[in-house]
């Protein structure tokens, strides 16, 4: 029941892979599964219809007969249509092509994450594009909303329009733009109150704000967990105020994110940014091809590598690599490596990006396992003496008992760790023989301890 879209689709394609040629029946069967999977992923019904019709059109006919294997061809078609539907290759960034001060208007339902996103965008524009940003909260509805934005502005190190109680949102917007002009800001981000698309009074208010500030971007902020209602929200906001871009928040959750497909299809506006965490720097470009690959279970290797590059200490990594090459990799290095992996974030988050691990991830369960093993292994190693870490061979029953007691684990767990370390050392020796090429083929799975990722040794790579 809780299968992800990628798992369901891999199920369909597993069936297709086994067959010689792709008949109309095959396509129909696959499409039925694709339809269900998309609905389960919260893609809006009308969008699903167009999507499957599009795939049927392309799948039955010339494209298929030319294929190497029908299953592969089908995967490619679905992937291509997904990428297209999500906006084609490459990320679309925020449009800043206008005379300063540029107004960015943030709109959306209550609780979609507008205020937090405003803070994130401000930080990003300030840090990455060296812009002078002014944040202004027009939310006079929710208690303490203006204060929230002010605090976020402080954290982001950008200016915030001083709060004057009793002003209407339109008045605040005018004041923000005046301040922007007078104090020479590059960008003014206008954070509006959450509103329902069907609340005409509030929609008229946001129209008035738009007319008063002439924003170059009107960004609709949408929760990635949104269900079928995504269509209504997207359509109403787009028709009434005109949406130039979409920000998808909470993509770090485990929602299947079908809303992305719906939103894009209904508004035609590109998805520009993705919120991926609670911290202010957790804002990423939206890459349609990556998300499509992820949906299809092909993994999101690019994001993983990017994240790894950001978090892993380069010098540390080189030192480790040298040790591996020399064959002097010991338990202390292993503990170091565990720390690096832990820094990259939750284990299930990392696993989700690896190709073909979707099913494995489901088997592990989502919340419980996370990081616990890594932590425990680190604890075991911390309970060893430096000498033991260098030469684990000296570990016999009495030492193991002491280590187990010291780390609050059991002798079995200590043994398990040692066995894993042993396997790793063997693998490293093998890798040295295979050279660089071998490492690539084995994938990142080879770098992880076996016990954590049973069966993920690169066998199921696409």
């Amino acid at each position: 029941m809780f299968e992800t879209l990628s798992e369901k689709l891999s199920g369909v394609f597993d069936k297709l892979r086994r067959r010689g040629a792709l008949s109309e029946n095959d396509v129909t069967e696959a499409l039925r599964e694709i339809r269900l999977a998309l609905l389960d992923a919260d893609v809006a019904l009308e969008v699903v219809r167009d999507f499957t019709a599009n795939i049927r059109e392309r799948a039955i006919g010339a494209e298929v007969t030319k294929s190497v294997t029908p299953g592969q061809q089908m995967v490619k078609i679905v992937h291509d249509v997904l990428v297209e539907s999500l906006g084609g290759e490459g990320a679309v960034s925020i449009n800043l092509n206008a005379p300063a001060p540029i107004a960015l208007l943030m709109v959306g339902l209550q609780g979609s994450g507008k205020t937090t996103t405003s803070g994130k965008i401000a930080l990003r524009l300030k840090d990455k594009q060296r812009k002078k940003v002014l944040l202004a909260s027009l939310d006079t509805q929710r208690p303490a909303a203006q204060l929230q934005l002010q605090q976020l502005a402080e954290r982001a190190g950008v200016a915030c329009l001083p709060i004057i109680m009793g002003q209407s949102p339109v008045e605040i917007a005018r004041r923000a733009m005046e301040t922007g002009r007078r104090e020479v800001f590059d960008i003014v981000i206008l954070d509006t109150a959450g509103r329902l698309a069907i609340d005409q009074v509030l929609m008229d208010e946001v129209k008035a704000i738009r007319d008063a500030t002439r924003p170059i971007e009107t960004l609709l902020v949408v929760d990635a967990m949104t269900g079928q209602d995504a269509v209504n929200t997207a359509r109403e906001f787009n028709q009434q105020i005109g949406v130039t871009g979409i920000v998808l928040t909470r993509m770090d959750g485990d929602a299947r994110g079908g809303a992305a497909l719906s939103m894009r299809a209904i508004t035609g506006a590109p998805i520009k940014l993705v919120g991926s965490g609670e911290k202010l720097d957790a804002l990423e470009d939206f890459h349609p091809e990556r998300v499509a690959s992820r949906i299809l279970g092909m993994g999101d290797i690019v994001s993983l590598v990017e994240r790894a590059a950001e978090t892993i200490d380069q010098a540390e990594a080189e030192k480790l690599a040298a040790k591996m090459a020399k064959g002097t990799f010991d338990l202390a290095d292993y503990a170091n490596q565990l720390k690096q992996i832990a820094k990259m974030g939750s284990l299930s988050g990392i696993l989700g990006m690896l190709p073909g691990v979707g099913k494995l991830k489901a088997r592990m369960g989502d919340a419980n396992l996370d990081g616990a093993i890594l932590k425990r292994q680190a604890a075991i190693i911390s309970s060893m003496t430096p000498k033991e870490r260098r030469t684990p061979d000296i570990l016999k029953a009495s030492r193991k008992k002491r280590i187990a007691a010291g780390s609050g684990t059991s002798v079995q767990e200590v043994n398990k760790l040692l066995k894993q370390f042993d396997d790793m050392s063997t693998m490293m020796k093998r890798m040295q023989k295979m050279g660089q090429k071998g490492l690539l083929r084995q994938g990142l799975g080879a770098l992880m301890p076996k016990g954590i990722m049973p069966g993920a040794s690169g066998r199921r790579l696409f």
């Binding site: 919260d42 609780g111 269900g227 209602d229 770090d252 485990d254 919340a367 996370d370």
Partner: protein, 307 residues
Amino acid sequence: MALGAFFARLKEGLARSTQKITESINAIFKKRRLDDAALEELEDILVSADLGAAVAAHIIGNFRRTRFGKEVTDEEIRETLASEIAAILEPVAQPLVIERSHKPHVVLVVGVNGTGKTTTIGKLAQQYRESGLIPMLVAGDTFRAAAVEQLQIWGQRTQAEVITAPQNADAAGLAFDGLTRAQAAGADVLLIDTAGRLHNKATLMEELRKIMRVLKKKDPTAPHSVLLVLDATTGQNAIQQVKVFKEMVDVTGLIVTKLDGSARGGIVVALAEIFSIPIHAVGVGEQAGDLRPFDARDFARSLVGAA
């Protein structure tokens, strides 16, 4: 509030959500033979109300057995649909009962980010105050900027004491203090706000468990209720949310918010089927009076637009 007025209010809140579904049903079923195509369209309508493919198929399955091939009017369709859905919802429509003997009855409020936890607590506090109970609030969201201030404003509105701690303070310690203070002050209800968290973040979920453990040190029976606040616009991911929160902190009931929008909240039906978890109340607006008890028949009838 009189019963009639309440129905009117709920209906008004749900009116817009049901408008579309009603229109669709009208369009398809005005005296028409209930054949395969018609059933499929009906199933689609349920799916687009967020009931989920499985639940929709189940309900349509019942329809097929009893009505297939008959000439039906849309009134019939709605009545039958409503009673199908109500039958699923009735067992879970249970109000949240505050036990005065607990002194205080501890209510822990949890949920993902942005579902309306703080607002719901404000509304609950107001209702308890009006019914003569003494509420006390704990501003347990020590993470989000200005979350404490937001709850404090609700505290002023409801004359309820708000226990606070500095930003990024330990929420469990704060909850413990809150319970201690509430016991000393003789409060009837202690409403504990928590920071919104995605259910797949293990460390954050562990934090919630810690709050539970710490509360039990002070009162082994606490928390007496653990409420999961759910946004009605949420799609199928709500199932995963309820599953994980239930496993981790033993959620005792749901409150569904933002039903005044165009979202139809059909996911509630799926949740009732899968988890049989009590649904206590629905939020249909921003005012304190807009938090309403959950009524199965009413919700079902409103959902399908039955008169």
